[in-house]
């Protein structure tokens, strides 16, 4: 193990290390701690200049109540869910198929198509912006959740294909050969043999794509504009102009907007990290 385990340096070093950990963590999260502090302060603290001290009264219920009952925030949150969930399902469905095709079969152009998916995944969004916006307007999908979902599915298919294909490559190929010898049809091999084995990959991708799409801002401002279809990342700017300079409410709003992916991460940590670090170990 590297670095050398702290236990080997004696109990004093270990205790010192353990005492230093929370300190380092607090330092790392300093900006976030300040915002969490803001979000439970009363308005009066800001007029009195009590910016970073303890709140003079604990206004959690009031501030967060404002966010939920006195703003468009719940609508934006709902939009985010209605954009994120279909995208996750669509991208995973498409890429399970492409990943299967590229991972199992040998044919001319296999690597070429695979690398097209990888390359497309790296391009700057701006090179797609004008044509994609144009296409969405022409399909009468501008400022709709559907327009946003269709683009997200297409773009995420690139990353998901890379992931699925590499995962399928690691499955024992003998299973597929055995099924073929038995005369099982190819699509049945996909559905009954490969798909059940891909569950970890499906779970990892689902949490990753959920986070990526929930956090998207660029495409939200390019393809949508009002509270009818904008997700929360774009909605937060409207929210902030509604509560201009009311830092306690703006902070509470941002924390609410950030919460779903954070929860997703803590609940599905194993899958999330497995997905993110794919390829980090050979």
């Amino acid at each position: 193990m590297f670095p050398r385990p702290i236990q080997q340096s004696g109990p004093a070093a270990r205790l010192g290390y353990q005492a230093f950990l929370p300190l380092a963590l607090a330092l790392w999260h300093l900006p976030l701690i300040a915002v969490a502090d803001f979000s439970v302060k009363p308005d009066a603290d800001f007029t009195n200049g009590n910016y970073w001290g303890l709140p003079s009264s604990f206004e959690f219920v009031h501030n967060y109540g404002q966010v939920f009952f006195n703003s468009d925030m719940p609508r934006y949150m709902l939009n985010s869910f209605l954009i994120t969930v279909p995208t996750v399902i669509g991208a995973i469905a498409l890429s399970a198929m492409t990943g299967f095709a590229l991972g199992i079969y040998k044919f001319n152009g296999n690597l070429l198509i695979f690398f097209m998916f990888i390359a497309g995944n790296f391009v700057p969004f701006q090179i797609l912006m004008v044509p994609v916006r144009d296409l969405t307007v022409n399909m009468n999908l501008y400022d709709t959740k559907t327009g946003l979902v269709l683009f997200h599915i297409a773009f995420q298919t690139g990353f998901c294909t890379l992931f699925m294909r590499n995962f399928i490559r690691q499955l024992p190929f003998e299973l597929i050969e055995a099924a073929r010898v038995e005369g099982v049809a190819e699509w049945r091999i996909f559905w009954f043999v490969v798909l059940p084995l891909m569950r970890p990959a499906l779970a990892a991708l689902a949490v990753l794509i959920f986070t990526f799409i929930w956090n998207d801002y660029f495409w939200a401002v390019v393809l949508t504009q009002g509270p009818d279809s904008q997700p929360v990342t774009a909605g937060i700017t409207a929210f902030n102009s509604q509560f201009r300079a009311a830092y306690h409410l703006m902070s509470a709003g941002s924390i609410v907007a950030a919460l779903p992916p954070v929860l997703m991460f803590f609940l599905m940590q194993k899958h999330f990290i497995a997905g993110l670090t794919l390829g980090a170990v050979k």
Partner: protein, 310 residues
């Protein structure tokens, strides 16, 4: 009777064709939906953007062919483009600090004491926050009067500084905000990599007297190469994609000092003074070619690995 027999034969023949070519035909059937989607929304738009960049276009009416005029203007007399380009270079170099910083935190956390797993996830979780929220959090952190940063500076007798209001500092302030989640990402890559380091090699090197820097440089880092490669890829891509933070924290200001190409492109194409899609597309094409250099290198490395694996 005869006709029924023929249709039956016909159907069987079709089935037979599929049966005979099943292994050759199946991958294409599975690829069609994904490839179609990807081609329409990702591959074709790249070429369309290049095409649009040779025109003047407001996004609605007819396009007017202007040849290389957009590029000539861009590269010869556009102050905003120049500022954006140099900011992109700053982003590229400074964003790479996330890699050593992530490695440093990973080494710090790679221990087995009680509760260490919780610490690892808490150190990592800025990465799952959206860039919009990170931007807001840091712009409040930097506030000259209400921000915690200046409160801390005051304790050591410095400040106050208005980071986002100062054209010389604003870009660095935004990059620092971006480094926060990016460092977390690199950290998790290295933690995973460190977990897989071969303990026998480490022990053997220890017996040979290697420790500290030498151990890290000659024994550990070579084994972390795959993690470093991914960290490099995602950091470069992230640096060139920076848009959200700038949009949220300064909206390109003060005095346009924090613009980068991705932001400037958006501004030109969908600005309140009218849509200049052709000019925007030209900026996007330049950004694309900068990225293409890196993309080619990444793909080349991956291609080499694929060839070896075969």
């Amino acid at each position: 009777m005869a006709t029924i027999a023929t249709t039956g034969d016909h159907a069987r023949e079709q089935r037979n064709w599929y049966k005979r070519n099943e292994i050759a035909a199946t991958p294409w059937l599975f690829l069609i939906p994904g490839v179609l989607f990807f081609a329409v929304y990702v591959i074709l738009p790249i070429f369309q953007s290049v095409w649009i960049s040779f025109h003047e276009w407001d996004g609605l009416g007819e396009k007017t062919w202007v040849g290389m005029a957009n590029y000539e203007r861009l590269l010869t007399d556009d102050r905003k483009f120049e500022v954006s380009f140099w900011n992109n270079i700053r982003w590229l170099f400074l964003y790479l600090l996330a890699i050593p910083a992530g490695l440093f935190i990973a080494l710090f956390l790679n221990q087995t004491v009680r509760g260490i797993r919780i610490y690892k996830s808490l150190f990592f979780f800025p990465f799952v926050l959206s860039q919009v929220v990170v931007g807001l959090v840091f712009s409040w952190f930097y506030l000259p009067r209400e921000g915690l940063l200046n409160a801390l500076l005051a304790v050591v007798g410095m400040g106050p500084v208005n980071i986002l209001g100062n054209p010389d500092l604003a870009t660095y302030g935004i990059i620092a905000a971006g480094l926060w989640p990016q460092t977390a990402y690199c950290m998790i890559l290295y933690l995973t990599g460190l977990n897989a380091v071969n303990p026998e090699q480490v022990e053997a090197a220890r017996l040979d007297g290697a420790k500290g820097w030498n151990m890290l440089w000659y024994v550990i880092l070579p084994q972390l190469k795959p993690a470093t490669f991914i960290a490099f890829v995602v950091t470069i891509i992230g640096a060139l994609r920076s848009f959200d933070l700038i949009s949220v924290m300064t909206n390109g200001g003060p005095f346009g000092s924090t613009r980068v190409l991705s932001f400037y492109m958006f501004e030109e194409s969908l600005s309140e003074f009218g849509f200049r899609m052709g000019y925007g597309a030209a900026i996007a094409v330049v950004l694309f070619f900068i990225m293409l250099g890196f993309i080619t290198y990444f793909l080349w490395s991956m291609w080499r690995d694929e060839k070896e694996a075969r």
